[in-house]
């Protein structure tokens, strides 16, 4: 087997930098939102932070750094577009994470590392400032370590003297649990060379199954196969507002409209939705929210309820000027049965009629409905609104 590892450290950082030149000059952190905290997803190289660090800790080290919300979908889209280049070489490409992929070269010994590197430089669509490191080896791990040692434009091939090649490598580059990493350091085993001093038995006794993996990788043995990547399928719907809205009830009306469109989209028919990303431009900055559904949702009403609960405690950076919903992680097609209830059938028929109108007259909304937004508001113009009708 021959494997090429493609490594782009700080991938998200480079994508953001390419996307928006005006942040080129000042350092920034890309922040990922979790239910109860924010963590560093990526950062300007050289900053004293690590991926996964809580934002409070990072800000304590660099209080004046700029913060940017992670746009995972965009990074993933960009990453997969980049990996598409390698389809010419292989049908088996594994994306381990953003910035790290393995390409199964299927023992194409006539392809040299230089050829591969040169090909990438010519073919890549992205800015040449992406620092792509290429490593080649007879298995994933050797190729990975080779990539670690490579420089952009100077690929590395792992030699046959694997033990010497791997000996100085830090255990930080072992794909094992944080607990095992920490334990190895505690025991003073800091490099792969340190590990190779010992037989496999004690390592297994101490670390369990991971002990065997640690020992094998330290000796350059890696039987892990390359698993083909799975690309995300998404459905996106968007709406803009004549005036910024920051009141939850109003936002939920807009969410309802967009969800209805998504759930009536032909691509979604019969399939469950496992993930929703809400994105909006506000008066101040971009806002995003990721919501995962377990189990996958088949109806817009349930989605709406879940989204409403999640947004009740949400703090928006400003009034929303527009709203985009991206549905992804679609399941396989589930059984679809025509409803037996007449009201439901009527709605379905109306929906189909509207689609017919769109085809004949153009895509802009032709049917509108009056909707109560805040009927109790002291400000009369907040009480009702006109929204495009979606059955």
């Amino acid at each position: 087997m021959l494997v090429a590892t493609v490594l782009i450290p700080n991938f998200a950082f480079h994508v953001e930098r390419n996307r928006s030149l005006n942040i080129l000059t000042s350092p920034f952190l890309i922040v990922e939102r979790h239910p109860k905290h924010l963590t560093v997803m990526d950062f300007t190289p050289g900053l004293p932070v690590q991926v996964g660090m809580k934002i409070e800790k990072a800000l304590a080290k660099i209080p004046k750094v700029r913060l940017i919300d992670a746009d995972i979908l965009y990074y993933e889209k960009t990453w997969h577009e980049f990996l598409d280049i390698f389809q010419l070489y292989s049908s088996s490409i594994e994306s381990e994470r953003l910035g790290l992929a393995y390409v199964d070269l299927f023992d194409q010994s006539q392809i040299s590392a230089e050829d591969l590197s040169s090909f990438i430089s010519k073919k890549q669509q992205l800015s040449c400032s992406l620092p792509i490191q290429i490593g080649i080896g007879k298995n994933k791990y050797l190729a990975y370590i080779a990539a670690r040692r490579a420089k952009p434009g100077e690929p590395v091939i792992a030699p046959s003297n694997v033990k010497d090649f791997l000996a100085p490598t830090s255990i930080d580059y072992l794909p094992i649990s944080p607990k095992s990493h920490s334990a190895l350091k505690e025991f003073g085993l800091l490099t792969l060379g340190d590990i190779t001093h010992y037989p496999i038995g004690p390592m297994q006794a101490q670390f369990g199954n991971e002990g065997r993996l640690i020992w094998n990788l330290a000796h350059g043995n890696d039987s892990r196969p390359i698993t083909n990547r799975i690309q995300r399928e998404v459905i996106t719907e968007k709406m803009s507002f004549a005036s910024p809205i920051d009141i939850l009830t109003t936002i939920m009306v807009a969410v309802e409209v967009l969800l209805k469109r998504i759930f009536t989209h032909p691509q979604r028919r019969g399939r469950g939705v496992m993930q929703i990303d809400l994105q909006a431009n506000t008066e101040k900055e971009r806002w995003t929210k990721n919501i995962v559904f377990r189990p996958a949702q088949e109806t817009w009403t349930k989605c709406l309820r879940i989204i409403e609960r999640k947004l009740e405690r949400e703090s928006f950076p400003g009034g929303l000027e527009d709203l985009q919903i991206i549905a992804s992680e679609l399941t396989k097609e589930l059984g679809h049965q025509k409803s037996l209830f007449s009201n439901h059938r009527k709605k379905e028929q109306l929906g189909e009629l509207i689609k017919t109108l769109e085809v004949q007259l153009g895509p802009k909304p032709h049917l509108w409905q009056v909707r109560e937004i805040e009927p109790w508001s002291r400000i009369p113009e907040r009480r009702m609104a006109l929204i495009p009708f979606v059955p």
């Binding site: 709406m239 507002f241 004549a242 009034g319 002291r378 113009e381 929204i387």
Partner: protein
């Protein structure tokens, strides 16, 4: 007043209803509305003020609201509601 984002009405937009309409009001004794002239309409005298109330809100935003409302009976025996915008100035007519 509610800020306009500049998005043109049309595709995929969301429109509030009952937007206030500007009008002209002449004040009389004790600083009370006396004559109202609607947009593209004729002037009508105010027979009496049935009720008055005040709304002060959204001061923390870019578009604070401060309005003194009046429900008035006009000379043609119709009722309407008007308000004076205490921030931007100007009189408006608005259904309730």
């Amino acid at each position: 007043m509610v800020k306009n984002t500049g998005t043109p009405y049309g595709l995929n937009t969301f429109r509030p209803l009952n937007i206030p309409e500007p009008c002209n009001v002449q004040m009389g004794k004790h600083d009370k509305p006396q004559i109202i002239t609607k947009k593209h309409g004729k002037s009508l005298s105010v027979l009496s003020i049935k009720d008055t109330w005040r709304v002060d809100d959204e001061w923390w935003t870019n578009h604070p609201i401060s309005r003194q409302y009046y429900t008035i009976l006009l000379e043609n025996l119709s009722r309407t509601t008007i308000f004076i915008d205490r921030i931007g100035g100007g009189w408006y007519e608005q259904g309730l």
